[in-house]
């Protein structure tokens, strides 16, 4: 079942196109990696998918009963957050706000849900801890738990392993893969090509003409995929 359909998109700001001719579709349960160099329009695509900016032309369609605000978003961390005084519980609960309507305070159901999502990501014991005292990997899990509270069907992750050491990054990817196996649709924006080669179901490569969109196996066999992978290997060896 198709959940998200993008057709002939032109994306950009104030009439200035950043991306043109972008078409892809995401089915329920897909694991899509969105790859591309800096400036290839990845963050513009994220903002468009979240309806923060309108597309210049073309259409973005949510299908199968999915609403735009049902996408669980994991943004990149800001420097201000790193020393923000907040408990893990407070942060995860704030993911429930979009379903509170006009009610000013959380109910029992919201607290249950926040706890369940913490357990699901294996950090149930951290609920009372202070966010700024956690490790980078733990902080990402907290923000992921918040995203799960906001949406149960689709996750949109912006560089989920940025700033993590290799071991923590691996754990993060394994965790995301597990959530995907449990039925969540996952869209990951990244420039981590080896991770895409390992975990992705579908790959969208932006920034090079022609844009590539297709399954992982086809990408790894395509000229752009081979070239990028060779480059990533070279960087690793160096």
């Amino acid at each position: 079942m198709t959940q998200l359909l993008c057709e002939d998109l032109t994306l950009g700001y104030e009439g200035q196109a950043v991306v043109t001719d972008l078409s892809f579709r995401v089915k329920q349960g897909d694991y899509l990696f969105i790859l591309g160099e800096n400036g290839s329009g990845k963050s513009t695509l994220i903002k468009t998918l979240l309806r923060l900016i309108p597309p210049l032309s073309g259409r973005v369609e949510f299908c199968g009963g999915l609403r735009a605000d049902e996408i669980g978003y994991l943004p990149q961390q800001t420097p201000a957050q790193r020393d923000f005084p907040a408990s893990v519980e407070e942060i995860v609960l704030s993911g429930c706000l979009n379903r509170m309507g006009r009610r000013p305070f959380y109910g029992r159901a919201h607290r249950e849900q926040a706890r369940a999502n913490l357990e699901r990501l294996g950090i149930g014991g951290l609920a009372r801890r202070c966010y700024r005292e956690l490790s980078g990997g733990q902080q990402q899990r907290v923000l992921l738990a918040r995203a799960l509270c906001a949406a149960r069907r689709v996750l949109l992750l912006d560089e989920p392993t940025a700033g993590l050491d290799p071991a923590a990054a691996r754990e993060m990817y394994e965790l995301i893969a597990r959530l995907n196996r449990e039925g969540l649709t996952v869209l990951t924006v990244s420039h981590d090509l080896p991770a895409a080669a390992r975990y992705a179901g579908q790959i969208l490569h932006m920034g090079r003409r022609p844009l590539f969109f297709g399954p992982r196996e086809a990408y790894l066999g395509s000229p752009v995929g081979r070239a990028c992978l060779a480059m990533a290997k070279g960087e690793q060896d160096a």
């Binding site: 923060l52 407070e90 704030s94």
Partner: protein
């Protein structure tokens, strides 16, 4: 000492002033937590200078109540400043620096050229550094302060969780459809209202102290948003109360006395934090 206090508190007016002072301290500390964490502390400073300019204009125009002009002008400036944060040709901090010195200069010039007062420098000093004594607050001031601060406290109570979400992560709040834009607008209006209120107590140059000190002190000691907010309120009310009593006993200027108590308590909090880290 106790006799002096008893004498002062036998005037109903001093009692009202004390209540108003504490309410102002409470509402500015609530605002402060959010402004400091959003990295907007300097907006409070800029706004207070704009409010001084508006106050000077109101004095020159001989308006019945200064609030009629000062409050709308400050609210408008706050909205414009927070708006411009997103897409400004002038960089945010430079725009604020420009506005605040500009408003100071124009305000002082207006007072100098048009004022009918015989004690000009005294008047200017009062608006900049606050009343020399809380006895000089007028009944209209007291009631206006009371109403506004109750509104501010209600706002923070009802929107507490949403304010947390927008303060901690504005992008996420926008993506989740929480109406972050509208909430920011509301926060801007409340900020302006608090600053105009607090000017009555400590004067426009010292307003920022009421906003930043309680939040920064509480952040030294506590680790969750709720405990920081509650502690900031408590610290603010206690410091303002102590400062007010001190100014009565020692006949010192109200604003400066309160700010000095804040500084002292902030120092103590830093010391405690340092000790805890070493332990």
């Amino acid at each position: 000492m106790l006799e002096t206090l008893a004498l002062y508190f036998s005037y109903p007016f001093v009692r009202y002033a004390l209540v108003v002072g504490l309410l102002i301290a409470l509402s500015s500390s609530l605002l402060g937590v959010s402004l400091v964490l959003k990295r907007f502390s300097f907006i409070g400073d800029g706004l207070s200078h704009v409010a001084f300019g508006a106050l000077a204009a109101a004095t020159v125009l001989d308006l019945a109540s200064d609030m009629v002009l000062v409050l709308p002008v400050t609210v408008l400036t706050a909205v414009l400043l927070l708006r411009s944060g997103q897409n400004a040709r002038l960089k945010g901090d430079a725009a604020i620096a420009m506005l605040s010195v500009g408003a100071l200069a124009v305000g002082y010039l207006l007072l100098n050229v048009f004022s009918k007062s015989s004690n000009l420098s005294g008047d200017v000093c009062t608006t900049l550094f606050g009343a020399t004594s809380i006895l000089t607050l007028t009944p209209a001031d007291v009631w206006a302060c009371l109403g506004l601060s109750v509104l501010v406290i209600l706002f923070f109570l009802l929107f507490y969780h949403r304010i947390f979400a927008v303060t901690f992560d504005e992008t996420f709040a926008r993506a989740a459809g929480l109406g972050a834009g509208r909430l920011n607008l509301l926060i801007a209006c409340v900020a302006a209202a608090v600053i105009v209120l607090a000017m009555n107590l400590v004067g426009s140059l010292l307003v920022s102290a009421l906003i930043v000190f309680p939040a920064l002190t509480a952040m030294r000691l506590f680790k969750s948003f709720r405990s920081v907010t509650l502690a900031a309120c408590l610290i603010s009310v206690c410091c303002a109360g102590a400062g007010l009593l001190l100014s009565i006993l020692a006949s010192t200027p109200v604003g400066a006395s309160i700010v000095c108590v804040y500084i002292l308590v902030f120092g103590v909090a830093c010391g405690l934090d340092g000790l805890r880290r070493r332990a």
